[in-house]
């Protein structure tokens, strides 16, 4: 067990509604989510002394603090690499409260990712940034490869070639997510399950990825309150203890285009997994379920392998026959994931992990002692083990 293990807990979660047009600023979304998360655990803005978010977030910590009326901040931090930051923001918070650098840290992420800047579109500016990201992107964007779906499709095609996985195998993830979303009133696709036939019939976006392999674009915000395990005992909600919190970046790492190494999969998630198991002293068999970042279905299969839930190439068999659905052997993404509930850069998945620990998920899994949560893949990423 690491020095961090069990020293911090998530005690509050909050969110706005998830929509395609929020009708308000990204800053307002984040502030509302933070207020909701504080109310969830009986704290107020006056208790907050730390804020963490994503480097990509457009609302600065000081802007959020101003709107909330936070008196002063002792700790503020941002994590890079898109959705890979999600669990990293919680890791920052956990380290801060475990060491006494801060007492109450709120992690937030809010955006109008559908009604304003859409991540699914081709970015004209990505390859012209005057920094190393621009230099990295110069080898793919000008060649026409510049949407998230396209960059993932390149890995998916090779994965299919190497292991014999099929589009139907990817579809199992979409079907599970949409089944879970169908019973989640907060999900955009509430009441709208799909079949594997629907998945196969959906239009091709970037071969081999169909539309239903790709997550939504969403407007909304999620916030998560982290305090020490000691402080958590005095708060109203059942704590979700942070048993492990890890970041990972692999050899010859790029952002969405780690194509120049022998393994063009997602070994960075293997780095996260190794560290999660090291910190916690637990292993895959100790996990009752998972929230695996699902911006694109192939990455869920690859993550199962990188985290050690099955061997390389065997995820296609692992996900068969409803194994990853709520009543299956290893349920995944019981909120509906980012395909079904909303794409809030993985933060809504962390919130679902907390609900499963509390026993308040709309799709409850019995006897959850430990679960694993991951952040965005294809990029330097992060993960958590949450425990009852």
């Amino acid at each position: 067990m690491s020095a961090l293990s069990g020293k911090a807990a998530i005690v509050g979660i909050g969110a706005t509604e998830f929509s395609k047009e929020s009708g308000r600023s990204e800053l307002q979304l984040s502030v509302q989510a933070v207020r909701a998360a504080l109310a969830d655990c009986g704290l107020t803005a006056a208790d907050v002394d730390g804020l963490t978010t994503f480097t990509m977030d457009t609302s600065s910590e000081i802007a959020v603090a101003r709107e909330l009326g936070v008196p002063s901040l002792r700790f503020f931090s941002r994590i890079n690499y898109g959705g890979g930051a999600a669990c990293g923001t919680v890791q920052q918070a956990a380290m801060a409260v475990a060491t006494g650098v801060a007492d109450v840290v709120v992690c937030y992420r809010g955006f109008n990712e559908r009604s304003e800047s859409r991540f699914g579109q081709f970015s004209l500016s990505a390859a012209t940034q005057v920094n190393t990201n621009g230099l990295d992107n110069a080898w793919s964007y000008p060649m026409g490869l510049g949407t998230p779906a396209a960059t993932v499709a390149m890995q998916a095609r090779r994965y299919m070639h190497e292991y014999g996985a099929t589009s139907e195998d990817f579809g199992a993830v979409a079907v599970a997510d949409r089944r879970h979303a169908a019973t989640n009133p907060n999900a955009f696709f509430y009441g709208k399950p799909i079949t594997l036939e629907d998945h196969q019939a959906s239009r091709m976006i970037v071969d081999p990825l169909h539309l239903l392999d790709c997550c939504q674009e969403s407007d909304g915000a999620v916030a998560i309150v982290v305090v020490s395990a000691e402080r958590a005992k005095d708060l109203p909600q059942k704590p979700a203890y942070i048993t492990a919190a890890a970041q990972g970046s692999g050899r010859d790492q790029y952002v969405m285009t780690s194509y120049y190494r022998d393994d063009i999969g997602i070994p960075e998630m293997g780095v996260v997994g190794t560290e999660l198991w090291r910190q916690s002293g637990l292993g895959p068999d100790d996990m009752r379920m998972g929230i695996l970042y699902d911006h694109f279905t192939p990455y869920v299969l690859m993550q199962l392998e990188e985290l050690g839930f099955c061997k390389p190439g065997e995820a296609k068999d692992f996900v068969k026959d409803g194994a990853i659905e709520v009543d299956g052997r290893f349920p995944l993404n019981t909120h509906g994931g980012q395909l079904g509930e909303a794409y809030i850069h993985g933060m809504n998945g962390i919130a679902e992990g907390v609900r499963q620990i509390r026993g308040t998920s709309v799709n409850p899994v019995a006897d959850v002692q430990h679960l694993v949560v991951t952040a965005g893949t294809g990029v330097p990423t992060s993960g958590l083990i949450l425990s009852a």
Binding site: L145, A150, R203, T257
Partner: protein
């Protein structure tokens, strides 16, 4: 027509000068001869900062590929085929494959050049299977 332009700097200018001159230049360490792609200021094998390049034969093999159909790509008429090309010299790069609707892993490709303007020439690839396909 709008086009996606690459950021060019001290670490990459030689590559774009090469495509403009009809050469596909692979970054090479002058100290130990190790090739790499994409370029960077250091040699990953011997740590030297003595950068040079080797002109590639311009032939390679498809390692993976996609057919991009949605959403729009600036300057392109969709669909487009984009491949990861394993160059015969042992490095890998991303490139559009023109003149095809589809592709297979293992297909052989040959480089060509798409001159956009005085500032930008993009390498593109064409099928070069001896037997055709």
């Amino acid at each position: 027509m709008s086009v996606v332009r690459p950021m060019m700097n001290r670490d990459s200018q030689f590559f774009w000068d090469g495509t403009a001159a009809g050469e596909l230049r692979i970054p090479k360490c002058n100290a130990c001869g190790t090739l790499r792609f994409p370029p960077g200021p250091a040699c990953q094998a011997c740590d030297a900062y003595d950068r040079g390049y080797q002109v590639a034969a311009g032939t390679g093999t498809v390692y993976s590929y996609v057919v991009h159909r949605h959403p729009p790509v600036p300057g392109k008429e969709l669909p487009i085929v984009i491949a990861l090309v394993d160059l015969d010299e042992g490095v890998r790069m991303v490139g559009e494959v023109v003149g095809v609707d589809d592709l297979e892993i293992g297909d052989r490709l040959r480089v060509d050049y798409n001159r956009i303007d005085d500032d930008l020439t993009l390498p593109v690839w064409r099928l070069s299977n001896e037997e055709g396909r």
